[in-house]
């Protein structure tokens, strides 16, 4: 969107972020990751994003399919190539870099 000037400079308008966040129950890391990611998404991606939060405890099979080792794990399915981000998303710069979003600052 045009008013979102924090969007990547070189990318078009129809960038739609499909994100999947894998967490484990209510572990401290998971809770932090969800909170941090939500803030980032609201700030940089809104409303062009779709965030799916999956509890790996509930779906253990998915751990193998998605090659999950470290948790919490954020997988960016689109746009561009698939990227994996692990950790509690506390390092915003790294999260943005991982998502391919370049801030002006």
């Amino acid at each position: 969107m045009t008013e979102q000037n924090q969007l990547p400079l070189d990318q078009g308008e129809n960038q739609f972020f499909r994100l999947r966040l894998f967490v484990i129950g209510a572990s401290p890391n998971s809770v932090r990751a969800i909170a941090n990611l939500k803030i980032i998404c609201e700030r940089y991606l809104k409303p062009n994003y779709e965030l799916e939060i999956i509890d790996v405890y509930q779906q253990p099979l998915i751990a193998r399919e998605e090659q999950i080792i470290a948790l919490p794990l954020l997988i960016k399915k689109s746009p561009g190539v698939e990227r994996k981000l692990i950790g509690d998303m506390s390092n915003t710069d790294k999260v943005l870099k991982g998502l391919g979003i370049f801030t002006e600052s």
């Binding site: 572990s27 932090r32 948790l71 794990l73 954020l74 990227r83 981000l85 950790g87």
Partner: protein
């Protein structure tokens, strides 16, 4: 092996009883890998992680995979193999050559392969994390098939994929606790680190129960893999370096089989195939299950003795294995035909098997394993190694000796008679053969060249033969187109004679006898003639005597007659003078 399986059985039972009974001994999980269970005294520690470390290409992955596969196929213990390096299908095709069908095992829910893919370039670390994902995967895999065995190959790859060492180390510690809680017997593999550390990432500090070090060395261009149990908490284990082998049947570790000398012995005897040699051993031959060394210089007929023994064993409807390190089987068959030994018929009957290989084909340990395996399969009554001398080209003297000790131990355990041939390089009778096995063997035959009169002849001695009376004499050993035989050497006035000298002496003796006989007959005839001559002389003398006697008689009678006549005449004259005719008449009457 049976004992090991029983242990396995007991342990699976134990699992069901939730290990209510406490054992004094550490419960163990048999690996099913040949020899490893013997070294570890039953297997790996049950329900605990074991570290297998070593350099690249020394067989860590294969050993751990075999642990899983054997568990699934032989001990009915499903297993999880988590591969951090190879993909599942790569693994499956890599071990297909060993006869491991991973795909089928997976379908039968006996095995679960899980490939863990980590690529640093794909992952961005954005803060605190843990390895709960790995735990969930592992836990799910274990629970889904009820796994008792787990392999993590190579866990250290986590360190290359993830950068936060502090988290990783904490998580590793948690992982091992997790594995113990799950009650699975786990193998973790790790690359050997620089210097004295066993693994690059110091995994040994987490796995404290059992550490096995694999090693792959190339000495004199021949590679040997070795295994050592560095540590095994709470149990006795073999501490030596044991050579092991990877071949089409997987891994075989070769412990020095029996450190104790508690072998069964047999007092049954088997013939050597050469009747005159048997007679040197009191007429009965070798002990069953004993070891026989035939040593000698080149061309003294060692192979012929061995082949003749093989022929004898097969002739008694027993199996014989012939390991040839010098000649091809066909060559031996052809050569033995020339001394009237038909080995081909035994091969056709399946009683005789040849295994020919150059010693340099593989390392000394590989030879031993190859021999082990063939013996295990063929179950022969006798084994021949011809010659052991060539093995020296692939190992040092001590290695060859250690190998032969193990081989002899193994064969004696199995009650298999073994015959070695060895080439001795010096013609002087040495107290030791090159391989130093003469002290190990029960019977030592020495075939030696005896040189004299510009020819070589073979002399056979029995250097030793434990537990039986044996001849101490040198016999001449002859190889003819009828077979092998021993001839008593000729002890003449000129010393020991062999070969043509012996024949010449025999001929000389024969001539002497003939001459003597001739002389005797001639003398007999002489006597006869003399006798006849004398007898005829006697006859003629007698005749002469008779004629003389007759002559004498005749003279005497004539004399008497003459006297009578003279008397008569005188009487007549007297009568006539007297004219008394009557008196004359009466006188003549009286005379009558």
């Amino acid at each position: 092996m049976r004992v090991v399986k029983q242990i396995g059985f007991i342990m699976t039972k134990l699992h069901k009883k939730q290990q209510l009974i406490t054992f004094e001994q550490l419960p163990k999980t048999p690996t099913g890998i040949t020899g490893l269970d013997e070294i570890t005294g039953g297997g790996l520690p049950n329900g605990r992680p074991t570290l297998i470390c070593g350099e690249a290409g020394c067989g860590k992955t294969l050993m751990s995979l075999e642990f899983i596969v054997r568990g699934a196929t032989e001990f009915n213990e499903p297993g999880v193999f988590m591969a951090f390096e190879e993909k599942a299908d790569e693994l499956a095709s890599n071990v297909a050559s060993l006869g491991f069908d991973l795909i089928k095992l997976q379908d039968d829910k006996k095995l679960r392969l899980d490939h863990v893919h980590i690529d640093r370039s794909e992952i961005e670390e954005t803060g605190e994390y843990d390895l709960e994902g790995l735990f969930i995967r592992l836990g799910f895999a274990i629970d889904s098939i009820g796994a008792k065995r787990v392999v993590l190959d190579t866990l250290e790859n986590l360190f290359s994929g993830l950068s936060n060492q502090i988290i990783l180390r904490a998580e590793l510690r948690r992982l091992f606790t997790f594995l113990k809680e799950k009650g699975v017997t786990a193998i973790i593999t790790g690359e050997k680190g620089d210097g004295s550390s066993l693994t690059r990432q110091g995994l040994e500090e987490y796995v404290s129960d059992c550490v096995i070090l694999l090693d792959h060395r190339v000495i004199n261009q021949i590679s040997t893999r070795r295994l050592r149990v560095v540590k095994y908490r709470g149990t006795q284990h073999g501490t030596n370096e044991y050579p092991f082998l990877i071949d089409e049947d997987g891994i075989s570790v070769l412990p020095v089989t029996s450190l104790r000398l508690e072998k069964e012995v047999s007092s049954e005897r088997i013939s050597s195939g050469i009747p005159s040699l048997d007679s040197m051993f009191g007429g009965k031959g070798f002990f069953q299950g004993s070891s026989i060394l035939v040593s000698g210089t080149a061309g003294t007929g060692k192979t012929s003795i061995a082949a003749s023994f093989a022929n004898e064993v097969c002739g008694n409807k027993k199996r014989c294995l012939y390991f040839a390190f010098e000649e091809a089987p066909k060559q031996i068959l052809r050569n033995m035909k020339s001394i009237n030994l038909d080995l081909q018929k035994h091969i056709d009957n399946g009683l005789l098997e040849f295994h020919a290989s150059r010693p340099t084909l593989y390392g000394i340990e590989m030879h031993l394993v190859a021999i082990y395996k063939i013996i295990k399969r063929f179950k022969p009554a006798a084994v021949i190694l011809d010659p052991i001398t060539n093995l020296i080209t692939v190992g040092s003297v001590s290695e060859v000796k250690s190998m032969l000790i193990r081989l002899i131990d193994f064969l004696q355990d199995e009650q298999i008679t073994v015959m070695f041939t060895a080439l001795s390089l010096n013609t002087v009778v040495s107290e030791q053969t090159d391989e130093g096995v003469s002290s190990l063997v029960d019977t030592w035959l020495l075939v030696r060249d005896i040189e004299s009169n510009g020819e070589r002849n073979r002399g056979l001695y029995i250097m030793k033969s434990r537990g039986m009376s044996h001849s101490n004499q040198v016999r001449e050993f002859t190889i003819t187109d009828k077979g092998l035989s021993l001839v008593d050497v000729y002890l003449g006035p000129d010393g020991v004679l062999t070969g043509s000298a012996r024949e010449a002496q025999k001929l000389r003796e024969k001539t002497g006898v003939a001459l003597r006989e001739f002389a005797i007959t001639r003398k007999d005839k002489e006597i006869l003639r003399r006798r006849m001559m004398l007898e005829s002389k006697i006859a003629s003398l007698q005749a002469e005597f008779e004629s003389t006697e007759e002559e004498l008689n005749k003279i005497y009678l004539e004399e008497e007659l003459k006297q009578d006549i003279i008397e008569r005449n005188r009487q007549e004259i007297t009568d006539i003078r007297r004219g008394n005719a009557d008196t004359l008449k009466s006188k003549s009457k009286r005379k009558k």
